[in-house]
């Protein structure tokens, strides 16, 4: 890199002597990373190391610690409600990702038409739900899902013959998960569409023409040109959407009145962590749950990258 070149010392700098000028040039990178490094080491790296230790302690608030060995993990893996939380989270992640990605890609393909007018407005409209954080969406949808009067039930009742107006989305355990997945689709389809749209626009148009000359129909073009062209982005979206889904917390927590919902039907891993770690003051247990979540996420991401063939090429 050319920045290692010695600076012309004969130039009188505005700030002082030539010696000072050379010195500040040498010190600059260290000074520039220093604030970041200081905060990162104190509030980023050290807590990570500390949480590994803390996971083996039972604590009662920040003041008292007792070493308990593997007990936190033993208790965790035996706890019925943790099993429920893991199951709920996996089911949610599965459905929300499986529905989200094709919808987002489909929407991006519809929008990626050169003749279409008002594309900017439509893109804005699809993205708009993402401007609301999960908490605000949770408050809004807890009212939209109200039985009898709520907008969701009214709309579905009008559109689908036989859909009961008094469907209890948030109080009937069987409906809680569908409610969460529906809400997540509303929030995130437009967000992921932005990625797919950018990827589609980067696909070489000549390839489509070549495919058309070979007589490929729409589906064949999609398989032969579009999918390979957007694959890196698709894998990126798949992995990040999955990681995000596994960390689901605010949405169900708010929609279900700060609980796991009826019969724990909306309890997720992170809500389990919050309720059993922080609300009880057991920071050790919270750390143990956190690490189980972290390792689980890592495993799922690696599996996905392997399954999509990204692993071999060594790039995401």
């Amino acid at each position: 890199m050319s920045t290692t070149t010695v600076v012309n010392p004969s130039v009188q700098s505005e700030t002082g002597s030539p010696r000072w000028f050379t010195l500040q040039h040498k010190l600059a990178p260290y000074l520039f990373v220093a604030p970041f490094l200081l905060i990162f080491l104190t509030f980023g790296l050290w807590p990570i190391v500390k949480s590994l230790i803390l996971a083996f302690y039972a604590t009662n608030g920040p003041k008292s610690n007792v070493f308990v060995g593997w007990n936190n993990f033993r208790f965790l893996f035996a706890d019925q409600s943790f099993h429920r939380a893991v199951w709920n989270t996996v089911v949610y992640a599965f459905w929300s990702v499986v529905l989200q990605l094709p919808l987002a890609l489909g929407l991006a393909m519809l929008l990626n038409q050169s003749w279409l007018r008002g594309r900017n407005f439509l893109r804005l409209a699809f993205f708009a739900p993402n401007l609301l954080g999960q908490v605000f969406v949770g408050v809004l949808f807890s009212v939209l899902f109200v039985p009898q009067y709520g907008l969701v039930n009214r709309a579905l009742h009008a559109l689908i013959p036989g859909f009961a107006l008094d469907t209890e989305w948030l109080t009937n355990p069987a409906w809680v998960m569908p409610a969460l997945v529906l809400t997540s689709l509303w929030m995130y389809v437009g967000f992921n569409m932005i990625y797919f749209l950018a990827a589609l626009q980067a696909v070489d148009q000549d390839q489509y023409e070549a495919a058309m000359m070979d007589g490929a129909n729409g589906w064949q073009q999609f398989r032969a040109v579009t999918l390979p062209g957007i694959r890196p982005v698709a894998v990126f979206v798949l992995v990040t959407a999955t990681i995000g889904s596994f960390q689901l917390f605010e949405l169900p927590y708010i929609m279900l009145n700060n609980s796991g919902g009826p019969d724990n039907s909306g309890l997720t891993i992170v809500s389990y962590l919050y309720m059993n770690g922080f609300m009880t003051g057991d920071l050790g247990y919270a750390s143990a749950v956190g690490w189980v979540l972290a390792l689980g996420l890592l495993a799922v991401s690696l599996l996905q990258m392997r399954a999509t063939g990204t692993w071999k090429e060594g790039k995401v």
């Binding site: 505005e14 807590p47 917390f249 700060n258």
Partner: protein, 275 residues
């Protein structure tokens, strides 16, 4: 069917599908706006807007609860976080992009590794640490741990890498100090990335729930997400007021998004598309 007719038919289908999707995306938001303008009797009586306008919900929002206080708290915490993050991240990103120094590789590897670890892991020890520093239940406790963004550093490093070295070298020959190079040359050149980062960082801090919920105990320091959650517990059946609170909470993000829209989309997809 003739090809001409087939094209216009498929185009019509595309437009219809897009419009239906747009309606699905926007309807809850329109409903939200409408709900804030209706009195309790009209709320469910009219699906969207009622013939008579009511300001009662907004009146309740700012008189029954100290909502202005929550709004100010959120603006302060988020504003401070964005400014500090922007400064530290761009500065470090600049150093990692344009300088060689001892330990650079190590720093980058450690940063990349921590990106893989979800935030929930550090919360317990972080709480313990802030407790010992006396920062529990303070706004400072929200700002300081979030003052650096590893994601932001990579974002800035990536965009500063594209600034030509000759530009920096020329400034050096003119006697610019390194900090002035950062301030007067690098920052203006990376302006689109600054816009994108500000919005991403603003949204993350503004919508943050779990950490303020853990750290803050007293009502007078609450930020909007936790204040709204508390309001549901107390005014759970006053939907109109809760919707007004939601709308006011969302507005600052919406305004910022409209201002920074172009930069945002570019910044969001920059890393992903290039792979």
């Amino acid at each position: 069917m003739r090809p001409q007719r087939r094209t216009s038919l498929s185009r019509a289908l595309i437009v219809i599908l897009l419009l239906v999707s747009a309606v699905v995306a926007l309807t809850p938001l329109v409903w939200l706006v409408a709900a804030t303008t209706k009195g309790p009797d009209d709320l469910f009586h009219y699906t969207f807007f009622a013939p008579r306008f009511s300001a009662q919900n907004y009146h309740d929002l700012f008189t029954k609860v100290p909502f202005l206080r929550y709004l100010t708290n959120s603006l302060f915490v988020t504003g401070a976080t964005v400014i500090v993050q922007l400064f530290f991240s761009s500065l470090a990103g600049f150093a990692l992009a344009k300088y060689e120094f001892v330990g650079k590789k190590v720093v980058m590897v450690i940063m990349l590794t921590t990106l893989l670890i979800p935030g929930q892991v550090v919360m317990a020890p972080l709480y313990e640490q802030l407790y010992h520093l006396g920062l529990v239940d303070t706004r400072l406790g929200l700002i300081i741990p979030g003052a650096v963004s590893v994601f932001g550093i990579f974002l800035f490093r990536q965009s500063i890498l594209q600034v030509p070295d000759e530009l920096l070298q020329a400034a050096r020959l003119d006697g610019c100090s390194e900090f002035r190079i950062y301030w007067d040359i690098v920052m203006p050149v990376t302006r689109p990335m600054i816009g994108a980062f500000c919005l991403i960082s603003f949204m993350a801090a503004w919508n943050n729930f779990l950490w303020p919920q853990i750290l803050l105990h007293h009502d007078d320091k609450f930020t909007l997400p936790i204040a709204l959650n508390q309001m549901i517990g107390i005014y759970g059946n006053q939907y109109g007021m809760l919707m007004a609170g939601t709308l006011v909470s969302v507005l600052p993000v919406a305004i910022l998004f409209l201002v920074l829209q172009r930069e945002f989309v570019a910044g969001l997809t920059a890393g992903a598309v290039k792979g």
